[in-house]
């Protein structure tokens, strides 16, 4: 695949000028996610009001794919209920595996810009790092799980 189309504008913008890459004081949840092979290393922080995610941000270091993906994710989950966020994570991860329907991919809004990563096996881990970390972080805390 041509590299130009894969590093599209949405991805490079979120990488260079992330909205949600900063610290949160007194977060309700913090979890580190790492890809040991390539060194992507991020910390996800969430603030919640009951079941609703009121603020989300991340810090850390990694490739453009991991950083942009985490940044887009934060924008999507703020204001959502925890189980809605988990549902998005599930859809995103399935999109990257090439298993999500068009309708589901549409529901991911901006995150759908990363769909082409499904053709790049070497980058899949980078794309899902933030989402996996979110799943891990919320999954254990949900009453229904």
């Amino acid at each position: 695949m041509e590299s130009r189309s894969f590093y599209n504008e949405i991805l490079t913008e979120h990488n260079i000028r992330p909205y949600y890459k900063h610290d949160i004081v007194n977060p309700d949840y913090t979890l580190e996610g790492v890809n040991p092979n390539c060194g992507d290393d991020i910390f996800i922080k969430l603030k919640c009001d009951g079941d609703v995610i009121t603020d989300a941000a991340f810090t850390g270091d990694g490739c453009a794919v991991s950083q942009a993906s985490a940044d887009i994710m934060m924008g999507l989950i703020i204001g959502k209920k925890k189980d809605e966020a988990l549902h998005l994570a599930d859809v995103f991860i399935r999109m990257i595996k090439g298993e999500a329907s068009e309708e589901e991919i549409d529901s991911l809004e901006e995150a759908s810009a990363l769909r082409d990563i499904s053709h790049m096996p070497a980058r899949v881990k980078c794309a899902v790092l933030g989402w996996h970390t979110l799943e891990e972080l919320l999954g254990d805390n949900l009453p229904q799980r």
Binding site: Y7, E13, I16, C63
Partner: protein
């Protein structure tokens, strides 16, 4: 000047169209090496050193002839000093277990340069942890050069082992191994040289260099994976206990008594990689045919071309020496604000194979203040066109990542 002429020797270049610039990770294999391994299994296959029937004798002879070739390759005094292992990592572990653990104790020091590959660092850390000895690091300057004074200060009466690579797999720097070996000997320490990145590119004469141990991997010098070499001085090897116990390394085994075989077999427990050794012998013949002089001439010229092209790219930072001569075919670099994995992904999309990451040299990158880097590594079969394509792709990276300058 480049290696076009030699590309026909390597069948992979007819099949695989990507540009292979990751030669420090492993080299490509010429047809003669592939044939040698194939021929061994086709016409000589029997378990060497075990049977007395002609086929086993033939296999044994082929295996031992490969050992002689290795002996010649590094100008060792005797075949007894050449031990076949799987790779550099195993060779160094052998020394760590059979020499380090036996001879070191609390209060002793192991001097290791910070530029080392994990394979020449973690075994020493293990020895230190288990014996109570201490690791002392040698630090180079930003250009990758070791200052004589810091070597003199680091190596003291407490030093029992000094471990250093001849060429750094990240910086491409050629280290002052002769000086370090001399210093080690002055205080009665042994010197362990990791030649993984030098053996494929320059002649090694162990009698001149005078290391106590020297390790390298077949796969980085046109040989197959799974065969490596440990050179050790006979007097030291003779006193060391075996690294592994089992078949083929014992002469007598009674109910309560074992007599180990003579060198080098004492250190080659179990069925050996004879096919690999024979093919490594073919790789040595191949190097002899092309000649290190020709190979280095091409590699130096290609390194210069790459180095100069890279120097002209804004926001590109080269790790190590600020001249091509200090790089020996290896140029690691970073691009401002672009993660090395994005660099390698863009190169990859343009058909160029390089490696990004920590290059198994975590402490060195930490010392240099970078998390990871992308590495170009050359071999004499690379071409000017490949270098130019690499430079062109590199020049486009910042723009592709959304930067305006």
């Amino acid at each position: 000047m480049d290696g076009k002429l030699y590309r026909a020797d390597f069948p992979i270049f007819q099949i695989e169209k990507s540009m292979y610039l990751d030669n420090a990770a492993t080299s490509q294999k010429p047809q003669c090496v592939i044939d040698a391994e194939y021929d061994f299994y086709k016409s000589m296959n029997a378990n060497p050193l075990r049977g007395f029937y002609p086929l086993s004798v033939k296999a044994t002879e082929a295996y031992e002839e490969a050992r002689s070739k290795v002996k010649g390759f590094i100008n060792a005094a005797s075949e007894k000093e050449i031990i076949f292992t799987r790779n550099t990592t195993e060779s160094i572990n052998l020394i760590a277990y059979s020499y380090g653990l036996i001879n070191l104790c609390r209060g002793d020091e192991i001097v290791v340069s910070i530029t080392e590959h994990h394979s020449n660092l973690l075994p020493w850390r293990m020895v230190a942890n288990r014996t109570g000895a201490k690791i002392k690091y040698l630090y180079p300057n930003q250009n990758g050069e070791f200052d004589i004074k810091s070597i003199d200060e680091a190596i003291t009466e407490k030093t029992k082992i000094v471990a250093m690579g001849q060429v750094s797999n990240v910086l491409g720097s050629l280290n002052p191994v002769e000086y370090v070996i001399k210093k080690a000997h002055e205080v009665g320490a042994v010197a362990v040289i990791d030649a993984a990145q030098s053996a494929p590119h320059m002649p090694i004469d162990v009698q001149k260099m005078n290391p106590d141990f020297l390790a390298f991997s077949g796969h980085k010098m046109f040989g197959p994976m799974g065969i490596g070499v440990l050179y050790g001085k006979k007097e030291l090897l003779e006193k060391m206990p075996p690294f592994m116990e089992g078949g083929e390394m014992v002469d007598i085994v009674r109910f309560d008594y074992t007599k180990y075989s003579e060198l080098p077999h004492k250190f080659e427990a179990g069925t050996v990689n004879a096919g690999g050794a024979v093919a490594l012998g073919a790789a040595i013949d191949y190097i002899g045919k092309v000649g290190f002089d020709v190979m280095s001439q091409i590699e130096e010229s290609l390194t210069k071309r790459a180095f100069e092209g890279m120097k002209n790219i804004p926001h590109l930072n080269i790790l190590g020496a600020d001249n091509a001569e200090g790089h020996h075919g290896i140029i690691s670099f970073t691009i401002d604000d672009v993660h090395p994995h994005d660099v390698s992904a863009i190169l990859e999309a343009d058909g160029i194979d390089v490696r990004a990451g920590h290059h198994c040299a975590g402490p060195l990158l930490e010392y240099l203040g970078v998390n990871s880097a992308t590495r170009l590594s050359l071999m004499f079969y690379n071409t000017e066109e490949e270098i130019d394509a690499f430079i062109k792709s590199l020049s486009s990276i910042r723009e592709k990542m959304g930067f305006k300058d």
